[in-house]
């Protein structure tokens, strides 16, 4: 089944420290009946103080310190430098300065045995683990993470196995800040994946949803607008889907031609919330905000307004 949710504050810069993490936790927890195999979020619009934050999960077999040493060397070999490493069990949140090609950096980190990348972002990071939203928060404290927008997912596995690697959101290798959550099944993802692989893209999982992330990121990197990329995906992706994409500046949604998966939107002048079910949104919005239900073959996007830029003090 799976459930997806996203939230976006429209005047992002002036209200940078919105409790996006906390609100995603509440939304996802209220949809736990749609799946508790894993839960994950991407919280965007953060200020890291470094060029990138890389979210890495390390394999237990290899020994964490050994793997991290390998990552450190890999980054250093490309002229980058690691500024901080936060420790969350098997997960590491690595802040680093690096000015080169992101593809090279990702390949170099992935070449370290036992290291797997969950996300690389300039202003966003993916936090995902098995279990429900409160279990995720207990381990990763994401409810304290603020930002301008974010998305999340609760998973009932259908297309691939239940583990951390195959949980959502999926980051689009090797593009910073582009992530996807998806509810549904794609039937032509093998074909799309093969096409991308022939063009040199690298996939970390066997999951159908990862292909959507790369598909959208590839279009955006070729200067397509998010709305156009989503629109084109309606014909290129086959199967049932409703998915949400998060970029550094906004979110977008696309719904398949069968209208097979549920999706509702609640929107005010300041904030927009989207989710598989209204039950998630009523945790945040008062009763008088009118619900909108997108229909089949529909695409919508929302942007964080960057106009009222206010200097934010960093911790």
């Amino acid at each position: 089944m799976c459930g997806i949710a996203a939230i976006l504050y429209k005047t992002g810069e002036s209200t940078r420290s919105q409790a996006v993490g906390l609100q995603l936790r509440e939304m996802l927890y209220s949809m736990r009946h749609r799946g508790v195999d894993s839960t994950g979020v991407n919280i965007a619009g953060q200020h890291f103080g470094t060029d990138y934050v890389v979210r890495v999960v390390v394999s237990e077999d290899q020994g964490a310190s050994h793997v991290i040493e390998g990552v450190r060397n890999a980054v250093a070999a490309l002229g980058g430098s690691i500024v901080f490493i936060n420790d969350f069990g098997r997960f590491r949140r690595i802040g680093l300065n690096y000015s080169g090609d992101l593809g090279k950096l990702s390949d170099s980190i992935l070449s370290v045995k036992g290291a797997e990348i969950h996300s690389i972002g300039r202003s966003s990071e993916v936090i995902k683990d098995v279990g429900d939203a409160y279990e995720l928060d207990k381990k990763h404290h994401f409810s304290k993470v603020n930002g301008t927008h974010g998305l999340g997912h609760v998973r009932l596995a259908t297309e691939s196995q239940v583990d951390i690697t195959h949980s959502h959101p999926f980051w689009a290798y090797p593009f910073p800040d582009i992530t996807v959550v998806h509810n549904g099944q794609l039937t032509n993802y093998h074909k799309l994946k093969r096409e991308f692989q022939q063009r040199g893209f690298r996939f970390q999982t066997h999951n159908d949803s990862e292909v959507i992330a790369v598909y959208i990121a590839d279009k955006l990197s070729r200067r397509r607008k998010l709305g156009d990329a989503l629109e084109e995906s309606l014909d290129d992706l086959d199967g049932t889907f409703t998915y949400v994409v998060s970029t550094d500046s906004g979110i977008g949604m696309a719904k398949d031609r069968w209208s097979a998966k549920p999706f509702v939107i609640l929107e005010t002048d300041e904030i927009v919330g989207v989710a598989s079910e209204e039950v998630a949104l009523r945790r945040i919005f008062p009763d008088d905000v009118r619900r909108v239900e997108p229909q089949e073959h529909e695409v919508l996007t929302w942007n964080v307004s960057l106009a009222p830029r206010i200097k934010v003090r960093l911790n």
């Binding site: 009946h33 069968w258 209208s259 549920p262 509702v264 079910e277 209204e278 039950v279 949104l281 009523r282 945790r283 009763d287 009118r290 619900r291 239900e293 229909q295 089949e296």
Partner: protein
């Protein structure tokens, strides 16, 4: 998880209000809430459910004549498998509102999600807002009235009964329907497989208008005329025999 409920249910009910009971849904699990509704129903009083918070499976399986109202939005399968219920929902609903309704009436003040009135066999559902995709899917009787627009695949695989849409319908309207009628006041996006349109006869128009007036629709908001979507019966393969029974019949 939840223990089977026996005698302690009425305690979950709040203080009686003038027209009947009110129940605060936030204080109860869904199972306890449904048990409380049933318990109140058997006392024959009106029940108001406060703070339904778009939760799922509320007021399911009630087979008594009763009167309910929900002071907010409800989730999936609200009032499913009910017989004789009279319910009002002040907000929106999720998927499958009034699934398999046998008799009674459900009124929803705002929008209904997908599959409203799925497999309903009797009674009446009135949606004051819009309906999502597949409204009246597999309907087997009764009347579904939608005051706004209805989405994709309206009346999908409908077998009996009628759907009255005052606004327009989306694409693939009446797809694979067997029997029954979809009346449409507005635009038809496109017709589904083996569906055709006819204009409503004069006596049908008169009957429809009288029916809608009885539901308190003002004359001036009624559509000027209705078109109806019915099965073209080119692909009609419909009988009530099970495959095994049919085999025996041939032998």
């Amino acid at each position: 998880m939840t223990k089977r409920l026996a005698g302690n249910v009425p305690k979950a009910l709040s203080a009686p209000v003038s027209q009947g009971y009110s129940i605060d849904a936030r204080k109860l699990t869904t199972r306890l809430l449904n048990a409380s509704i049933k318990s109140g129903v058997s006392k024959g009083r009106h029940i108001t459910i406060l703070n339904p918070d778009a939760r799922h499976n509320l007021a399911v399986g009630i087979v008594k004549r009763c009167s309910l109202s929900f002071a907010g939005s409800v989730g999936y399968y609200c009032c499913a498998f009910c017989d004789g219920i009279s319910a009002t929902i002040e907000g929106n609903s999720g998927w499958g509102l009034g699934d398999n309704l046998m008799s009674g009436s459900i009124v929803i003040r705002e929008d209904a999600g997908a599959s409203v009135g799925a497999s309903m066999r009797g009674g009446q559902i009135l949606v004051w807002g819009n309906a999502g995709a597949r409204a009246g899917i597999s309907m087997k009787g009764g009347t579904l009235v939608i005051a706004g627009n209805s989405g994709f695949l309206t009346g999908f695989m409908m077998q009996r009964g009628r759907i009255i849409v005052m606004g327009g319908v989306g694409d693939a309207a009446g797809d694979s329907m067997y029997e029954g009628i979809v009346y449409v006041g507005g635009e038809i996006g496109s017709l589904g497989v083996d569906a055709k349109t006819e204009s409503a006869t004069r006596s049908e128009e008169v009957e429809l208008r009288a029916f809608l007036k009885a539901l308190k629709f003002r004359d001036d908001i009624l559509p000027r005329r209705f078109r109806k979507i019915v099965s073209a019966k080119r692909l009609y393969q419909y009988d009530s025999l099970e495959p095994l029974e049919r085999e025996r019949l041939v032998i």
